[in-house]
Symmetry: C2
Subunit: 201 residues, 2 copies
Amino acid sequence: MSTSESDPAVATRETILAAATALFGDLDYPGTSIRDIARAVDMLPGSIYAYIDSKEAILYTIVSTGIEQFVAAVESLDPATAPDERLEQAIRAHVDIVAENPQRALVVFHQWRYLGDESRAKVITARRRYEEFFRATIGEGIKTQAFRSDLDVRYATLTVLGALNWTPEWVHADDPASADSGRKLADILLAGLRPVDEDTP
Amino acid sequence: MSTSESDPAVATRETILAAATALFGDLDYPGTSIRDIARAVDMLPGSIYAYIDSKEAILYTIVSTGIEQFVAAVESLDPATAPDERLEQAIRAHVDIVAENPQRALVVFHQWRYLGDESRAKVITARRRYEEFFRATIGEGIKTQAFRSDLDVRYATLTVLGALNWTPEWVHADDPASADSGRKLADILLAGLRPVDEDTP
DNA sequence: CCTACCGATCGGTAGG
DNA sequence: CCTACCGATCGGTAGG
């Protein structure tokens, strides 16, 4: 029951998961073999199975804990905050999490496809919750007139999510400018949603 | 030298490429085997090699002709058109090409990673040209004051490209509404770039 | 386009 | 965490 950080088996498991995340991010799940992961952590291929159940279980752990991190970030935002400000906070939180580990973000948002049926269904549910936050926040912003009344919620959401899902391609890991990146991205995206006469202070 | 559409060998080659595009789009390049492709076109695995040189040559053909299609679309736009209008045309052209075959777009924009060094370098050059068109057009729009003077060209370009690269996830093949999708996407993206006082007619 | 096949590599396991 | 191994599958080829 003890899973403190000093548990060596847990530490080894974390090392394996971190190595797998980097490899999946570079070469994709089917392009990465258990032997590749073993080599990265200086083990023999069979030894990996002392720490994990299967190759797919590695992917599932990475993807499910990853998507939960994104969901938790937006769902912990204060719902009393004005929708446009809340959307900005969500965009910045997303960029921050991507900047922590862009390869992990790449795995989380693209490689759930390789999961088996049950695992994939669970992950898709979490992804939907994440997307739903953005859709709801944008919809709310239209109601409060923080955003343009003629805005199509579907397309506005797809634009924001598209820009966010592209961030792992250009955000650098541990980039000290990532806070700035989030702010600039939010600035442009929000400008596209705001009514003309309320754009600048 | 004759490569008319009635050449049966060319037709078979096209059939193989189309099947491979769909499979790569669904399961990725490393997740798709030559045997999968052969099954899809009702051949035995070895027979494929009468039409193509290697598995990687299939990917290279799909990706290079695909990216050229996107580049050609934007580079054929009239450079005399106002930058904001030209950007709208480019966004709509992008969505139209994605709608023709979303799986192909997925392969073109994500799976060039699996190419060998020389092939990958060629494709990256074409990708850069495509991105450069958007960067240059946005930069031009700032100069002509069609876009906000305080706009950061880098982030504006990344926002537009992100939204465009996400379209294969939601545009449906042969969607009759795809023209509408392009227009709505362009509308939101351009609103984010335009100055406040010139937004609506 | 088929038959028949190659060496390499895959995910995973038994038994310690 | 290692030794030793399994059956399955991989990309690709010779020879027709």
